[in-house]
């Protein structure tokens, strides 16, 4: 697999010049591991869903305004060039036009602010959670403490040095594999307490829509509720030193029964 992928890479790079044009035409892909991925990973939590919807809403509004404004500009560049019009008009202001194009953006912005405010209020509500996990960032690994179950372990990069130094073929989850995954039950509201022990890190899993800075001396909180079982991968998002690029996060979302069995297994060890 890896060999084919490598030999095709140059050809794909050439195709990459064309890809942005495909985007302009409105073909959006969202699969997490598709190559040439153009958009967010597939959302699996209420927060990630609402982020995705807001993102697409704002994006399309921006695209529409962009096409309109620059459509007019490029028409002008074509129609009002000197070879077609020897003499320029001489107007230099229009109060009516200026009022209109000040008011319209205000209305559009209000239209954006309302759903954003609602989403934010929902996202910041960490009350009524079913369980709490404390996450601590270290240079360069994560520590997970299940405060309700007395489970406590570290989670660090598992990709071998040889792959990073190009002495061995790279696996599918190159740089996104850890020795011990964070195991979470699906359909439970989980409160995550996030802090750090040395410098600032940020805990981020894109499919969960969860990103928060891990700051020494402070405890931040976010919540997540995963819809479907699966493995979700993320990385530290705040520059934290030499191995910032090498402290990934892997979340296993499992059914409640599987989660209880896992807890049993962990606590009996």
């Amino acid at each position: 697999m890896m060999r084919i992928w490598r030999s095709n890479r140059t050809r794909r790079a050439v195709a990459g010049v064309i890809a942005p044009i495909a985007v302009a035409a409105g073909t959006f892909a969202s699969s997490a591991h598709a190559e040439w991925a153009l958009n967010f990973q597939k959302p699996v939590t209420p927060i990630a869903h609402i982020q995705y919807d807001l993102h697409m809403l704002i994006l399309w509004i921006c695209v529409a305004i962009f096409v309109l404004v620059f459509g007019i500009m490029f028409y002008s560049l074509f129609a009002h060039r000197k070879s077609k019009r020897a003499h320029a008009a001489n107007f230099s202001h229009s109060t009516k036009a200026e009022v209109i194009w000040t008011v319209i953006p205000i209305l559009i912005l209000i239209g954006m602010a309302i759903p954003s405010t609602q989403a934010l209020i929902m996202m910041e509500d960490t009350t009524a959670s079913d369980m709490t996990i404390k996450i601590t960032g270290y240079q360069w690994k994560w520590r997970y403490q299940y405060l309700d179950n007395d489970i406590d372990y570290y989670s660090a990069l598992e990709t071998p040095r040889s792959q990073i130094e190009n002495n061995a073929p790279k696996e599918e989850h190159y740089l996104l594999e850890v020795d011990k995954h964070l195991v979470l039950p699906v359909n439970k509201k989980i409160r995550l307490l996030i802090t750090a022990n040395d410098v600032i890190h940020a805990w981020w899993v894109p499919a969960l829509g969860a990103k928060k800075d891990a700051i020494p001396g402070f405890i931040n909180e976010i919540w997540t509720q995963i819809d479907e079982p699966g493995t979700y991968r993320g990385q530290c998002a705040e520059l934290c030193g030499k191995d910032h690029g090498f402290m990934p996060i892997v979340v296993d979302a499992v059914s409640e029964d599987d989660f209880n069995a896992w807890v049993q297994n962990q606590t009996s060890q």
């Binding site: 890809a19 985007v23 404004v69 001489n90 230099s92 200026e98």
Partner: protein, 523 residues
């Protein structure tokens, strides 16, 4: 008549190195700033080439992760403080006296010192790469506690920033003093050319926000060496406080980089549209509004630090407001072109390219303002794409356009139009191939500031690197074109452009060493 004799006498200036070391002439100092800026642009660009080479493929090929972090950090510091800001101070030195009919800057000796602080500061910053522990590697934002961990290179960086900051403050005081006191009779403020207006506002931003940066990095220095705990939570300090102080400087700084470029575009577009600037008054007020707003939006750079809901809402709304004055400016530029008589010489191409590409960065900025979505975008390549569209697409294209626009006035020769157009198109293509795919990388989940990445990001990274190499190489054309123009070429007329308006086009090309010894009268 005596004035004329005196002029001729003063045209004899010292020659050789002393001319440049001791000069108090705004044109000489402007030239020094511009060459310094270009040198830094090349040095910072080479660092970008190292970054993009390492990111060409997954795996570690050329540099180790710590050196990679030094490259991203120093690339940013060199480009912002060494290339972008001095480029516009250079343009201000050359053009503000010419545009307001002043014989020179108000404070010529201060002007000399402002410039000559920069080369030692830049030397110090670059030298940090060669001290034990290497250069600052905590990002240009130098967040503690990470920046507390760094070696003496961080102290080099702090001292360099202090010196560059002092240089900027003095340069700004000079610009304010010049514009307030040295305008030609009849040139009331509301008749100032837009480039001068934007610089006046920018200078006020600089004198307000640079001391805040100086405070932040001084506290960082005492935390590092003198046992204070301003930013150390184990000693009762607060690492997030640094971010608040830094971005209180950092956001106005972003507008310091872009506002003079707005000014340049507002000079170029009317010239090549052969039509007055649309909405001059609203341009001035929009610029002032942007400047004011820049002081109340800083925390949008740090939405993920865990602010209270009300704080997040305030900074989201205030940030969204910036879209209004900014869109007023864009509509005004488009309206200036509307029903004009347009030609597309190289400066005009740069101005149109700037409006187009800056707006892409503006839209991604609006997306970043939406806090719930920002939680996904924050600290990803989406942000990298955003600020390169704004700073390269806006600031750098604006500066390049300005050089092509005024080079005939400075040298007395026309630049080579064919080379200029090649430079424009290769730069714009290179820039878009480099930075557009970075939007996708960020959305798909690639964090910024990493030396190696997961396999799903391989394709767009390779495209981005290829674009970066093209972008880097195309700047050689610019250097060749400028050098050729200095040496010779078609003689430029005094007006240079058919649609020229403004005092700078009333003096001969090349502009004599001393201009406006007798102030012109503006009707």
């Amino acid at each position: 008549m005596t004035a004329t004799t005196a002029d001729q006498h003063h045209d004899h200036h010292p020659t050789g190195i002393t001319r440049w070391l001791f000069t108090t002439n705004h044109k000489d100092i402007g030239t020094l700033y511009l060459w310094f800026s270009f040198t830094m642009f090349i040095i910072g660009g080479l660092m970008a080439m190292i970054i993009r080479s390492e990111l060409f493929e997954p795996g570690l090929q050329f540099v180790d992760p710590l050196f990679f972090n030094q490259m991203t950090t120093v690339h940013a510091l060199v480009m912002i403080f060494g290339a972008a800001m001095p480029a516009f101070v250079g343009l201000a030195n050359w053009q503000i006296p010419l545009m307001i009919g002043a014989p020179d800057m108000a404070l010529p000796r201060l002007n000399n010192w402002s410039f000559w602080l920069l080369p030692p500061a830049a030397t110090l910053l670059i030298a940090s790469l060669f001290v034990p522990g290497g250069a600052p590697a905590g990002g240009w934002t130098i967040y503690p506690p990470l920046s507390i961990q760094g070696g003496m290179g961080v102290d080099f960086g702090i001292l360099a920033l202090h010196m560059m900051g002092i240089s900027s403050i003095m340069g700004s005081i000079n610009i304010i003093a010049t514009i307030m006191n040295m305008r030609a009779p009849g040139m009331i403020l509301m008749k100032l050319p837009m480039f001068v207006w934007t610089w006046l506002i920018t200078a006020f931003l600089l004198v307000t926000c640079i001391p805040v940066l100086a405070g932040a990095i001084t506290m960082l220095l005492t935390d590092r060496h003198f046992g204070t705990h301003f930013f150390d939570s184990s000693g009762g300090g607060d690492p997030v406080m640094f971010q608040h102080i830094f971005w209180f400087f950092g956001h106005p700084e972003v507008y310091i980089l872009i506002l003079p470029a707005f000014g340049v575009v507002s000079q170029i577009i009317p010239t090549f549209s052969r039509k007055p600037l649309f909405g001059y008054t609203s341009m001035v007020f929009a610029t002032a509004t942007i400047a004011f707003l820049s002081f109340i939006v800083w925390a949008h750079h740090m939405f993920t630090v865990g602010m209270p809901l009300t704080g997040e809402l305030f900074f989201m709304y205030s940030t969204m407001l910036i879209a209004i004055p900014t869109s007023v400016k864009i509509f005004n530029w488009v309206s200036t072109m509307w029903r004009g008589s347009l030609t597309f010489e190289t400066p005009m191409l740069y101005a149109i390219g700037m409006v187009f590409l800056f707006t892409i960065g503006g839209f991604s900025g609006l997306m970043l303002a939406i806090v719930p979505a920002d939680f996904q975008y924050h600290d990803t390549y989406f942000v990298v794409a955003h600020f390169h569209y704004v700073i390269f697409g806006g600031t750098i294209l604006g500066a390049l356009g300005a050089v092509y626009f005024w080079l005939p006035k400075w040298t007395g020769h026309m630049y080579n139009e064919t080379l200029g157009k090649w430079h424009f198109w290769l730069t714009v293509i290179g820039m878009n191939v480099t930075f557009f795919p970075q939007h996708f990388l960020g959305l798909a989940g690639m964090p910024r500031r990493i030396p190696d990445y997961a396999l799903q990001f391989a394709e767009f990274n390779m495209v981005s690197s290829l674009g970066a190499f093209l972008l880097g190489l195309s700047q050689i054309i610019f250097l060749i074109n400028v050098l050729k123009t200095i040496k010779g070429g078609e003689k430029a007329s005094d007006r240079v452009w058919e649609g020229s308006t403004g005092l700078e086009w009333t003096v001969p090309s090349p502009a004599p060493y001393h201009t406006f010894a007798t102030p012109p009268v503006v009707k």
